[in-house]
């Protein structure tokens, strides 16, 4: 990809904590804003070196457009392709896209009318069994006769593994079968039927999914250096492959010491990708996992609970925090705690979000977060599984690699990681397949932890923003582009040295 021809954007550069540099500001950031960029305000442009081995270091052209005080904010223009590289090369700076605000006017004509409910005329009778013919209850199935307008029906199988759906026609455009755990899902397109028997394939924990294609985790030794990972999610465990060293239930009116999974399994799956050891293998087995439960069972997480989880993770001296959650709107309260974490030498990795190539969600789009998109690889999931419907361009330099169709994308993306058809832990010693930037995020966290375990000098730094800066700089030397383009992959994927 010809990076010099890529689009440029305007960005505001600020020190981490205040609008201007202070006595506490990292000296490198202070020097960068005052000695490197400030003189350039009156000149044309500057070229900055990327972080990396000397032989591969390159120059990032950057135009300084304006400045608020010589030790304060700078408005700069740089290529969107270079943005991720810039972030990793100059950590300790807040990088905020220049925004323009409209008048608070309501455009009534843009309000869409909801489509009328389609009259149902046909029944689709479904039967779900395992490969031996035993019925499977509680499987969520959704069928669409028109996927574009999301016209269809959904439900869960009964104790006999049966479900009857009411549809507008017997021609089905897509059907998705989503088991919660134990089995791979099922996906079929463009067929006519009034009944369908589907046999689900059981998960083989030795299967090489996309995570284990890129990372040979089953062969890796346990990490022995003390690294603590905080997981802000639905809780973690119980599972025989996982050790939870501490945490807090942040949900009001629940037992603060009960930070097990709330039953939904999301946090346990995330934790397995990072640290499972036994039945499946995470990327950083041996690290200390701290679970901060912010999701009540079958309910949404309050931003206050998330702030509480972040505050506790800072107090517990985590090294990395995993946040596989997000929303479209920004939240200053959560931002302030992520900033506090950064100032305490902790990195927050956040999932880009799963809105079918929508903009990067908050908090991933916050300048001090590490934002992770999801990618997949063909032939790392069985045929006719849900994952076959996730394959979508762009493809990487290796054409088997693709960015997941659901993954949010944008200039805030820092990294990409496997997030399609991931085998990991589920509460009560079960295993499940999940897809999402929620899975890509802990893959990046796990690999970051494994790489940082090789950098004891950085881990031993005082807990201040300079520690987080150095962690990012070190990790930046371990990222390789997969050829998707910066909007999709940021700087690329964290990979071990070979």
């Amino acid at each position: 990809m010809a990076k010099s021809k890529s689009k440029t954007g305007n960005y505001i550069l600020l020190p981490v904590t205040e609008p201007q540099t202070t006595a506490d500001t990292n000296p490198k950031v202070k020097n960068f804003l005052t000695a490197v960029l400030e003189p350039a305000v009156s000149k044309e442009a500057v070229s900055l070196k990327t972080r990396g081995p000397e032989k591969t270091a390159k120059k990032i052209p950057l135009k300084v457009i304006d400045s608020i005080q010589d030790n304060g904010a700078k408005l700069v223009q740089l290529s969107e392709e270079e943005l991720a590289d810039f972030r990793f090369s100059y950590p300790g700076l807040r990088i905020i896209r220049e925004k323009f605000y409209k008048k608070a006017q309501v455009y009534r004509e843009s309000i869409q009318q909801k489509a009328k409910k389609t009259r149902t005329t046909r029944k689709l009778n479904l039967s779900i069994t395992d490969t031996a013919g035993n019925p499977i209850a509680g499987i969520y199935i959704v069928a669409f006769t028109d996927f574009e307008s999301r016209t269809g029906d959904a439900g869960n199988t009964n104790a006999k593994g049966r479900l009857s759906l009411n549809l507008a026609s017997k021609t089905i455009e897509r059907i998705y079968v989503y088991p919660e755990h134990t089995y791979w899902g099922y996906y079929k397109t463009n067929f006519s039927a009034t009944s369908l028997n589907i046999k689900l394939q059981k998960i083989d924990t030795g299967y090489t999914d996309s995570l284990r294609h890129f990372y040979n985790a089953p062969q890796w030794p346990k990490i022995t250096r003390k690294i603590r990972i905080g997981i802000i999610d639905t809780g973690v465990g119980p599972h025989k492959d996982l050790v939870v060293s501490g945490g807090l239930n942040c949900v009001a009116n629940e037992d603060p010491t009960d930070f097990k999974d709330n039953g939904e399994g999301h946090g346990t799956h995330v934790a397995g990708i990072i640290s499972a050891y036994g039945g499946v293998y995470g990327l950083a087995a041996g690290v200390e996992v701290y679970s901060y439960r912010v999701f009540p069972k079958n309910a949404n997480a309050s931003n206050f609970y998330i702030m509480k989880g972040l505050a506790q993770a800072i107090q517990d001296e985590c090294d990395i925090i995993n946040m596989s959650l997000g929303e479209s709107e920004t939240d200053e309260g959560i931002s302030s705690y992520i900033k506090q974490a950064y100032n305490a030498g902790i990195l927050c990795f956040c999932a880009n979000g799963n809105d079918d190539r929508g903009p990067v969600s908050f908090p991933a789009n916050y300048s001090l977060s590490v934002a992770v998109s999801a990618m997949g690889r063909k032939n790392t999931f069985p045929k006719n599984t849900v994952q076959t419907g996730i394959v979508k361009s762009p493809y990487g330099t290796d054409k088997a690699n693709f960015i997941a169709d659901f993954s949010n994308i944008g200039a805030e993306t820092d990294l990409t990681a496997p997030g399609v058809g991931i085998i990991s832990t589920f509460p009560n010693d079960l295993y499940a397949i999940m897809d999402g930037t929620s899975m890509a995020c802990p893959a990046a966290v796990g690999m970051a932890a494994r790489l940082l375990a090789e950098a004891p000098d950085i881990l031993a730094l005082p807990r201040a923003s300079a520690r987080a800066d150095e962690m990012l700089k070190y990790l930046s030397t371990k990222i390789k582009s997969l050829g998707f383009g910066a909007n999709y992959e940021g700087k690329g994927m964290l990979l071990e040295d070979k």
Binding site: K114, A115, Y140, V142, F144, F147, S149, R150, T151, G152, D153, A154, R174, Y176, Y178, T234, A252, E264, H266, V294, F295, A299, N300, A301, S302, N303, F304, I306, M307, K308, A311, S324, L325, G326, E327, E329, D331, E332, G333, S336, A351, G353, N354, I390, F406, M434, D435, G436, T437, S438
Partner: protein
């Protein structure tokens, strides 16, 4: 009544006793005070929101509690 988050935006640490007293005067109950004196989850009636904002002034923010869903990639039909 709705849940609001009160958060300190100034420098230094505010006096926790003064924060509690001000909330008491406003007739606001604290749902979760574990992050005090910097942050608190409050139960505030609609009529009291502006009063609380005025009493806490510029160094404080009072914003409605927001909810985050467990992320999901499953497709769903239109309701």
């Amino acid at each position: 009544m709705a849940n609001y988050i009160l958060q300190y935006r100034g420098t230094g640490i505010p006096d926790p006793q003064q924060v509690k007293e001000t909330l008491h005067i406003c007739g606001v109950s604290i749902i979760d005070g574990s992050l005090l004196p910097l942050t608190a989850l409050l139960d505030v009636s609609d009529g009291e929101v502006e009063n609380v904002r005025c009493r806490f002034e510029a160094d404080w923010s009072l914003t409605p509690e927001k909810k985050y869903k467990v992320p999901d990639t499953r497709k769903h039909p239109e309701e």
